[in-house]
Subunit: 359 residues, 2 copies
């Protein structure tokens, strides 16, 4: 399939990211409907768009709240009027705990996750004197091999500890599963939930997530109450390759200019790792060059993308090209602003509000 | 060798980048002396530090000017008082050419490179009516296989074209060589220079560059007049591994906190690809964990670094660790600010002035 390019944009300063709003809103509505149809609460992860604009669109479509990874992201979203936020990260350190408490005081519902006693102890100490307890979910490693307690027994023990400490309350279980790991999630969560119930502790939420497996959320059979997905709002080449979406569902395109054609088989574009990033996600090449199926973005340096061209598919100096990035979440983080395209050729500035919020 | 960590910084909000000024200034002085001793002008590339502070330190140490990759970087440096700037990039497009002309009007010496007629034609059209001609160097591909004319004959032809056009003047030859490609540089440049001289055109500069081979600049035998290096100011793991510098010459360290130790062999730090980036540069793992030679930063997601720990080298939740990044240039680009350490434990904010300047 050939996706049309945008000759009207020929004078845009490149490299730049264009977000097609219509596509993003369609993605938001489609997955919201899937969650509604399957009795799942949707709590989108804002890491993909990092924009208050799209967070509000997700809430307007029916999302219960948002997920952030960093306090800095949550602060920006709270400033933008979002008042139900899960920070899916172990928060440690005096400064961050102080910021977390301030944030809790100005949001309707703030929750965090924890997978160890040190984190839980720190949260309890800081919230002990707060007007409301902080909701803490136990992060479970159901196969993703990142953070998380390793066994259902570990989850039960940490849930008990949270319930026993002042200033915090147990809010449920959370996992970021391995791709394809839905059965492992159910096995882990059902055992943990049963054990927590035996302790007389209520487990109100079981939160799972991940865009690659999002259409299988329906197989969760009532165990999972909430789903967190980020990438689905814009989609990217990695999700097309995993058959989670199609090319026309990709709302984000990088526009680049061909700055050099040094040889017959090589062209150089002005999109390098400073916008595409070096994330491959197991794919071949650093993005999909729209309308040039024979071309391959073979190598990146910071400001140069080296394109290997096919014999019947040459690029010309000055030509603008569109790229669907491998991984859209890391692209938005490189940019202060993107272009929001409301109608074909009608561009306005989209501020990436929570770009670069590392802490 | 064990490099000392900084227990006094235990309360710094992580992840963060600390730049040890003493080390950076020593690196600046050492390579400046090398260039001075070998009759080479040094024109440091600011892409590594992106800070007016260090650009000024380089000029103060004896650099003739700076190199930028983007007009936006050059604008920031000109605002900071730097007045001799090479933009080592093919500039295309009406908006950028307009910005370039404005920049030329407020700098003492501005030059750019070009490797094709389209770029040269655009520069000429915009500078035809300027008060001073723009200096244009011909970029030559001496083996780096990025941009550049492919043959000395191509360089001669483009030099002639630049000399013939209004608004621009030929400033010499420029190359970004392949690592280890010094002989190829000399072979290409000597042939191109001879041909350009036969055309009666002066070739005042032959500019080469690259930090990995910077100590071999002395082998250039008078052909090369100017050297561009960026990474040497801070150095990084890739340059240690190439034996260009030692660990104690690495001025930049990422400080991260251990947020989770899910299993005996796995720890998770709060430095992920949003600060370390996924640049491997052919290395094993995503950075060097100082003081933990058995540890390996095996995997990154945006906010998590997965560390495989050795049996005698465990990490603890809440512990702060220091990382020498694989590639320091891309790390500074992720940050609005770093910490500048003037003396041990004495930190001030270092603004990364030209972060994220993509155009």
């Amino acid at each position: 399939m050939r996706i049309p390019t945008y000759p009207s944009l020929v004078e845009i300063e490149t490299p730049a990211l264009i977000i097609r709003e219509e596509v993003a809103l369609r993605n938001i509505d489609r997955f919201q409907k899937h969650c509604d149809d399957n009795g799942l609460k949707l709590r989108p992860h804002v890491k993909t768009h990092k924009c208050v604009h799209f967070a509000k669109a997700q809430i307007a479509a029916g999302a219960v709240g948002i997920t952030c990874q960093k306090i800095g992201e949550a602060e920006v979203m709270a400033d933008g009027g979002i008042d139900d936020i899960l920070i899916a990260y172990n928060i440690l350190g005096g400064d961050k705990l102080g910021r977390l408490r301030s944030l809790a005081e100005r949001t309707k519902a703030l929750s965090v996750v924890a997978d160890n006693d040190v984190v839980v102890g720190g949260l309890s100490r800081v919230f002990e004197t707060a007007s409301q307890p902080l909701t803490v979910l136990v992060e479970c490693d159901t196969g993703g091999r990142r953070c998380g307690v390793q066994t259902p027994e570990g989850a039960i023990a940490l849930a008990s500890r949270i319930s026993a400490l002042p200033g915090i309350e147990f809010g449920g279980l959370m996992t970021y599963p391995a791709v394809g790991g839905q059965r492992d999630v159910l096995r882990f969560m059902n055992r943990a939930k049963a054990g927590i119930a035996e302790c007389g502790i209520a487990c109100s939420e079981v939160s799972s997530g991940g865009s690659p497996d999002m259409w299988h959320a329906r197989t969760h059979d009532g165990t999972i109450t909430e789903y967190r997905a980020g990438t689905y709002v814009f989609n990217d080449r990695s999700l097309v390759e995993r058959a989670t979406c199609n090319w026309e569902d990709c709302a984000g395109r990088i526009v680049a200019t061909v700055v050099s054609v040094p040889s017959e088989s090589r062209a150089v574009i002005d999109a390098g790792s400073k916008i595409l990033t070096t994330d491959l996600l197991g794919l071949d090449g650093f993005g999909y060059l729209v309308g040039h199926p024979q071309a391959r973005i073979a190598k990146l340096s910071e400001e140069h993308g080296i394109v290997r061209c096919g014999p019947d598919d040459r690029l010309e100096v000055g030509e603008q090209v569109h790229i669907v990035p491998n991984h859209i979440c890391v692209v938005t983080n490189m940019l202060d602003n993107a272009w929001l395209e409301r109608k074909r050729g009608d561009l306005s500035v989209l501020t990436i509000d929570a770009r670069g919020k590392l802490t």
